[in-house]
Amino acid sequence: MAPEVTERDAAATAAPPPRGRAVRRILAGRESGVLGALLLTVLAASFLVEGFATGRNAGFLILDVAAIAIIALPMTLVVITGEIDLSVASTLGLTSAVMGHLWVAGLPLETIVPLCLVLGAVLGAVNGLLVTVAGLPSLAVTIGTMALYRGLAYVVLGDTAVADFPPAWTAAAVGRLPGTDVPQVAVLIMVLALAVGVLLHATPVGRSLYAIGSNDEAARFSGIPVRWTRLWLFVATGAGAALAGVFWTLQYGSARADNANGLELSVIAAVLLGGVSIFGGRGALPGVIGGVLLLGAIRNALQLADVSSDTLNIVTGLLLVASVVAPNLVARLRERRPRSGVPPARPRTPDRPLRTEES
């Protein structure tokens, strides 16, 4: 690495910086881009789209992105360590299907919900074990489990739907805090986000994730339990997807095998929009929250403007592409600039269009 180390590199490898620098770092980092875009989008939509800037609509927006947010939190950690989990939407679907099946079988929801969370953790552990113990690339593994888990969801529930969940539970899922338009689930997400944020940005474990993502071999030699950490992150992602599955099922009052088909795209788009590098080793949680909200705000505004939800896929897809193209182009432009300026942050790996695990 170059002798002059940029602030972000220092942050990625050394101890957490003092507070003043942390604020400056966020302002200078990639996170500021997404937060600025979010601000602009919200402002533009408020002026241009009728009904956007109301408390009621903000509540709907939060409900819409709640499942994405719940999965995006652990996914951020996975991507920072240089891995990826494409199976989250299928885990959500399988959890939802199992939840419906058990409910039909007569179990009380108090029992079903913990069971579903355990199921999600187990599904995540399967991914994690295949990646860490068998040494398979997470991309290939999770493409496989993406098909497997979704397939199992169909096996469990077929093409039927279970929709007779007790109203008390479904109402609680979409319930608002008393006297406001803020959904209750926002509190849950904030607590989870705080926990993940503290873990990532203020603990040795969090620092070790960046080290693993930057160079997992070096991380292993410096005593970080790389495999163990990765395994737990996959377990956490599975559990997060299961929690989102429980929430999704209650929110829409319907357990179906094809619930949240394709949601992995939105989750990964939000994480990458939030400034997390697909190559691992970089990213911050505030950016990801911004990414989730940006995605939600754009979709919400377009929906209010009568764009059909199928057509909205164009927007999500393009956002995902843009969120990886933009930082890459910026990095390449910087590399072309004379060395006297800001040195390129980190050697990129442009020759590896498909990330593979070679440990």
């Binding site: 990826i84 295949l130 068998a134 040494g135 398979l136 690339p137 991309l139 290939a140 593994v141 493409i143 496989g144 489990t145 993406m146 098909a147 497997l148 888990y149 979704r150 397939g151 199992l152 169909y154 096996v155 077929g158 093409d159 095998a257 394709g262 795209l265 990964i268 788009a269 990458l272 697909i278 190559f279 059909s308 199928d310 057509t311 909205l312 896929n313 164009i314 927007v315 999500t316 897809g317 393009l318 956002l319 995902l320 592409v321 990886v324 193209v325 890459n328 182009l329 390449r332 990129r348 442009p350 020759d351 590896r352 269009p353 498909l354 990330r355 593979t356 070679e358 440990s359």
Partner: protein, 349 residues
Amino acid sequence: MSAGSGTGASAPVAEHGGGDVRGARRLRQVRELGILLALALIVAATAVANPGFLSGQSIRDLLLSATLLTILAVGQTLVIVTRSVDLSVGSVLGLAAFATGTLFAAFPGLPVAVAVLAGVALGAVCGAVNGALVAVARVPALVVTLGTLYAFRGVDYWWAAGTQINAADMPASFLGLGRTAVLGVPVPALVALAVVLAAGWYLASYRSGRELYAIGSEPHAARLSGIPVDRRIFAAFVVNGALAGLAGVLYAARFGTLDATVGTGLELQVVAAAVVGGVAIFGGSGTVYGAALGAVLLTTIGSALPVLRVSGFWQQAVVGLLILVAIGMDRILAVRAARRLRGGGPDGT
């Protein structure tokens, strides 16, 4: 299968520092024999359960169903060999199919060849978009094609706007493409066979074909040895897009009923077919023959399930399981090959 000749043949073991060409070829033959064996087992078991499974009509149906997946798997192999992946093929197929139908609906007297070319060209354009983003903007193929999967599908929805194109909108000569047979073999199956043979020959015998393997084995070394890496990757994506377009045209000819959902979720099966067929997801190894066998195997499983009275809902789960088994097997074979090369030493990877 003889693709394992020439410079790139050591690809599967290259990372372990060996040039064991014969070993690499044997490894691949083991893989392809394994698929054939699995195929024979499934066919035998199904035929025992229901002898009608082996009737001429049933086999013709099977070949016809395997056609689209085979063509897509061949294109996907070209891309995966360069250490990329194209998840957008299902959407490209859908878009090309709908475009073909729309073209016929707008110009009823259009010659069939023009419509076929238009579908293929549209596919190639989609492939070029992917290829440009991957090769020029140097963005990971997985992310780009995951994005374009939804973007192309969104375009399809926006274009179709809830409408549907029916067989009545298309000329009989075009629909006949999907039904006529030469010497008992359906025309689309012949097209697929031609695609497989052409791509297999190209990958094995052409310099640029071998270079695709070199790129997938070690992109950096390929660049240093003067291979135009970006151009090759771009070309692989364009060809893959064109083949997806061709598959879309064949879909239109065979099924006649087209809406915006055509080909949804097909990408998983395509990747599965290639991976099951021994195309390493890390790039640098695998043949189109293997991928085609993988496609036939997946299709056979799909049509065997109902005959064996297994719920069709199992199909996707089986696809997922096959992907995991295939990459797991590749890993075991690679580890064993590495061990052998090191004279029985510990794995240590």
